[in-house]
């Protein structure tokens, strides 16, 4: 096991920890083990094959920090803008909090909610306080990496422009915000755990992760545009209700110190900014044992409700799947897609993205005139929602629980056709259709009912596209391979190639709109294509799958 530089740095504070009654030597040992484990987290297929020592030092998390360095660059304008510190720095700290908080929930939840500690460390003669402190320090180490990645460049810019005082006060503020975030996150978890069981918490974390990924995708598109809207001359008069906007507490002390405007409200804000973070950490420390007790709930799960299949859904299922087997796979695939968090984390952000992206393109094209828009052919941007199909088709063969796939070998499965057709139908109806319907509803509002035939063609094309993707991609039994093997880059070329089909669909669609009744002809052709392809595509033998 290697010794970490971080820990050597921590050694300097040994005295502080000892003062608080923490067994520093033990804590250091615990942290060393945890950091080593973190270094081995996210094992890809490559790191499993090549077991060399260099690999161990590669911490995936550290590698992912560069994205936060990039996000940090967006903070620079707020430092440079002017001397209106209350406004600028409140925004600055607000954005900072948003990034740290979301990443805290997405990435550090596993640390905060680790229940292995309980089983492994508690039976050993290790002081509880040492265990909980090591947990805190573990989180703090990562949080400081993240913080440094985010703010070091903006703050250096600030140091150059606004001087040493600005720099120092900002650092102090950021430390306070970090404390607040740790405290608040832990208290939120405590709250959730008190009232819900572990599965719910895991679901909430999962949705935050999904939201974060989506936010980053969309934010990347929108952030650059948003700079046009920010009015640089906003002057902000402090109001009492702003007391609830906690980034303002920190903005206020900047304003106070840098501009020397000692208003009563500013003083109050500053006091809150110092007290609340310390208080939240104190509460967390104080109720840590309650937290640990409630963590036990993560292993316990309340009785969940029986979800009855409504008659209507059964009828619907009978309508789209003809054989019993196909229906079985449809149901299986639907519940896997609905329940598997790994799968959701990879797929849902892109689903959300595919809803947003047509609008981004429309907005880029038409900034001003709505009338132009509603008579235009911009509705063809709905084809952008098809670009998620290849990625999801690739993902369908992966699962975090791929080891459960032994059932396919044990059971008497003669034909593979229902497996594939059932799964693809489940994908189209459970994942793509909601996206499509939402987009269609908005598009009908914007473009009028005249686009209805076009939208139907789009759906048919989406189905054709899914089948084409299936035929071209390497075939595997659904949910039978480890999701860790999923590697975005290795599929990049083929996904890109498949995306050309979307361009083809959209191109033909555009051409068909140039003639009267052209789209109806296209509609008929699309139906025939789909029917023929569907008949051919799924006749696959076991030998083909085995390779």
């Amino acid at each position: 096991m290697q010794d970490f530089r971080t820990l050597k740095l921590l050694d300097r504070f040994e005295y502080v920890f000892s003062r608080f009654g923490v067994d520093y030597k033990i804590m250091r040992k615990i942290l060393q083990v945890k950091l080593t484990m973190d270094g081995r987290r996210v094992p890809t297929i490559f790191s499993q094959n090549v077991k060399n020592k260099d690999q161990e030092t590669n911490n995936q998390y550290i590698k992912s920090l560069w994205i936060y360095v990039v996000f940090g660059l967006f903070l620079i304008p707020f430092v440079l803008m002017g001397e209106n510190y209350l406004f600028q720095m409140s925004l600055f700290f607000g954005i900072f909090t948003f990034f740290v908080m979301t990443s805290m929930i997405a990435d550090f939840s596993s640390v905060l909610l680790d229940i292995r500690d309980r089983n492994i460390l508690f039976p050993k003669p290790v002081d509880r306080k040492t265990v909980s402190t090591s947990k805190m320090v573990h989180v703090a180490i990562y949080l400081s990496f993240l913080t440094i990645a985010l703010v070091s460049i903006p703050l250096i810019v600030g140091l150059v422009k606004n001087g040493v005082l600005f720099f120092l006060v900002s650092i102090l503020n950021i430390v306070l915000i970090d404390l607040l975030i740790i405290g608040v996150t832990a208290l939120i978890y405590l709250f959730i755990l008190r009232f819900f069981d572990g599965e719910k918490l895991k679901d909430i974390i999962n949705y935050v992760q999904i939201g974060l990924s989506l936010m980053i995708m969309v934010g990347y598109q929108l952030l650059i545009r948003s700079f046009q809207f920010i009015d640089l001359t906003v002057s902000l008069e402090p109001q009492w209700w702003q007391i609830f906007i906690f980034p303002m507490w920190f903005g206020a002390n900047m304003e106070m110190i840098m501009n020397g405007s000692f208003q009563l409200l500013y003083l109050l804000f500053t006091a809150l900014g110092i007290l609340i973070p310390l208080l939240s950490i104190w509460i967390y420390m104080k109720y840590n044992h309650v937290f640990e007790q409630n963590l036990q709930k993560l292993t316990y799960h309340g009785k969940s409700k029986e979800n009855k299949q409504s008659k209507l859904r059964q009828l619907f299922l009978k309508g789209i799947c003809h054989s019993n087997e196909e229906r079985a796979y449809f149901r299986f695939a639907s519940s896997m897609m609905k329940n598997e968090r790994d799968f959701k984390l990879k797929v849902y952000p892109s689903l959300g993205f595919s809803i947003v992206i047509p609008f981004i393109f429309i907005m880029n094209g038409y900034n001003t005139n709505f009338n132009d828009l509603s008579t235009s052919k911009s509705y063809l941007t709905i084809y952008f929602s098809l670009i998620i199909i290849p990625t999801i088709m690739i993902l369908l063969k992966f699962s975090g629980k791929y080891k459960g796939a032994w059932i396919y070998r044990v059971t008497p499965i003669k034909q593979l056709k229902p497996i594939f057709s059932g799964t693809i139908k489940a994908f189209i109806f459970k994942l793509y259709l909601p996206v499509y319907l939402l987009l269609s509803a908005v598009f009908i509002v914007v473009f009028g009912v005249r686009v209805l035939p076009d939208l139907i063609i789009v759906f048919l094309n989406a189905c054709i596209y899914a089948v084409i993707c299936f035929m071209i991609l390497k075939k595997s039994i659904p949910f039978s391979e480890s999701i860790d093997q999923y590697n975005q880059n290795s599929n990049g070329a083929i996904v890109f190639g498949l995306m050309l089909f979307v361009a083809l669909f959209a191109g033909i669609h555009y051409v068909s709109t140039l003639f009267s009744y052209g789209i109806y002809l296209y509609l008929v052709i699309a139906i025939i294509c789909l029917a023929t392809l569907w008949k051919q595509a799924f006749n696959i033998t076991w030998e083909k799958i085995m390779r």
């Binding site: 009785k303 409700k305 896997m336 459960g404 032994w406 044990v410 008497p412």
Partner: protein, 260 residues
Amino acid sequence: MMEEVILEIADLKKNYGSKSVLNGVSLQVKKGEIIGYIGPNGAGKSTTVKIILGIEDNYSGKINIFGHDISDGNIEYKRKIGYVPEIAEVYDNLTGQEYLTFIGELYGLDLDLANYKAKSLMELFGIGEVYHSRIASYSKGMRQKLLIISSLLHNPELLFFDEPINGLDANSVMIFKEIMTQLAAQGKTIFYSSHIMDVVEKISSRIILLHDGKIAADGTFEELKQQNTKGSLEQIFNQLTGFNEHRELGERFVSVVKEM
């Protein structure tokens, strides 16, 4: 009727690279037998079962089930087989209901029938209240019960239980033993591997001991006792696998423990 051969293995060999796991296993199983398939860790018990079920291939030798050679690619025989694997790997993000009905449907059961049977069996096994919970939340014993139920939904003729009572409490083990006896009385054949010798001793109508990829003993418990002059199955097991150093190893182990 009782003499009908259900399973016949002839000279089964299997190796992983240069390491051979099975060196010519031959056996015949007759209808209604409960076979205790025992052997030390790594003797090849699970491998034998996996080959029979088509999870592992690339073996040499012949396997006939219900009178058909399984190497011909016809998988119809699997319809009459139930299997509980040694390691409980399941799609555990599904609920018990979702998983069991899916498995039932894979075996060709109608959804409603699969649902009814799965629910009743879960209730009878004392885990009815988690039928609609995710399997991820199950305890080890609950998972094991789920696997046992999933292997029986389709009323199979031949059952392979690989360490089936792993994690079950004493009462559940009693239920399970009773289930096995009842199933055998109905003419089902059970192929059962375990490390818990006194259970094997009590319920098996015939015991096969596998050692170093070969059959070291085959017969009823009484027959094995006569051949080996030892009292319990555990002692017979030690004797046949050539293991008699347990006292010495134990002493050395404790002496290292004492070192400080």
